[in-house]
């Protein structure tokens, strides 16, 4: 699959270091705000990270939107290097179109629809 050993060693870097794309919580009391962050898995959730690739604001704005910002090139870069992705991030990226829609998102939507029907 890969052209030479040197190149593949470079790209297994993220896997060896257990690098993860996850949300780091910020904001203040009763006002959460998440940063989409590339970090070593063993670091604290809100601690030092490698790179900031976006944000997610769970509080709806004046239009009723919960905004998500995403650095698509950065995410492609890290996914290509073997970084793992947490569930909330996977779900949000699925909704955004970078990854496919997560099965649980679809199932949750179906359940909600069944309940309301």
């Amino acid at each position: 699959m890969f052209v030479c050993f040197q190149v593949s060693a470079l790209f297994r870097e993220a896997v060896k270091r257990r690098i993860i794309l996850r949300f780091a919580l910020g904001g203040c009391t009763n006002r959460p705000f998440y940063k989409l962050v590339v970090a070593n898995r063993r670091r604290a959730r809100d601690g030092p990270y490698i790179e900031n690739l976006g944000s997610y604001d769970p509080m709806p704005n004046s239009e009723g939107e919960r905004l998500v910002a995403v650095n698509v090139n950065g995410i492609k870069r890290w996914l290509g290097s073997g970084a793992e992705v947490t569930l909330p991030v996977a779900k949000i990226l699925g909704l955004g179109g970078i990854l496919p829609l997560h099965p649980m998102s679809i199932t949750a939507a179906e359940r909600k629809r069944r309940k309301s029907a």
Binding site: M1, F11, G80, S81, G82, P100, P103, T107, E110
Partner: protein
């Protein structure tokens, strides 16, 4: 099976679990070996009912999801490989360009140096010429000066020679004394700075 267990649990709660009901309230986070809390002793938890159809559909969705995500990862990886290779190629090209640029600059530098050298040589030749001309002029003027001095000295000598005819020597000393005594000129007067005689001081 799960339903049967749930019924059995309801009938005889203490029958099925052999733990002591409670010995002492546990403080802090409960461990695996700690006994159940007082409030939870008679609690019977019902298992979450699973929809079989939904589960089947969900599992299939998961398999497809994993396949697609893995495929996407490989695609991104391939993109990075391509970028890396292009980067290496660009480095090589830039190295070639750098060497060409370097040799061009060297040639330019050499040409400039040659030009400056030619200019310098010309300048030096000019300077040498000027120098020699100047030295010749100096020598000429020096010679003229010396000539003039020599002539002046000769003139002085000539004049002195003429004057020496009226000098008082041992031979004509007596004669000159006699002549001076005969002369009646009076030099007994004062003069100012301009050399004019102050008439009042002239004695008769």
């Amino acid at each position: 099976m799960a339903a049967l267990l749930a019924v059995a649990r309801r009938l005889s709660p203490t029958l099925l679990h052999q733990e002591p009901t409670f010995v002492q309230a546990v403080r802090g986070r409960k461990r695996r070996t700690d006994p159940k809390a007082k409030s939870k002793v008679d609690l019977i938890r019902d298992p979450i009912l699973i929809d079989a159809v939904e589960t089947l559909v969900l599992n299939e969705r998961y398999t497809w999801y994993k396949v697609i995500v893995e495929a996407l990862r490989r695609e991104f990886r391939a993109e990075r490989v391509k970028q890396y290779q292009q980067h290496l190629l660009s480095l090589q090209n830039s190295a070639k360009e750098d060497t060409e640029e370097y040799s061009r600059l060297l040639a330019e530098n050499a040409a400039e140096n040659a030009r400056l050298a030619r200019a310098r040589v010309e300048r030096l030749v000019e300077e040498q010429k000027e120098k020699t001309e100047q030295t010749l002029l100096n020598m000429k003027s020096q010679a003229e000066k010396e000539e003039a001095e020599r002539k002046e000295r000769e003139e002085q000598v000539k004049v002195l020679k003429e004057e020496s005819k009226s000098f008082i020597t041992f031979e004509n000393l007596d004669e000159c004394i006699e002549e001076a005594l005969k002369d009646d000129k009076c030099y007994n007067f004062a003069i100012n700075r301009k050399g004019q005689i102050i008439k009042r001081t002239r004695s008769q």
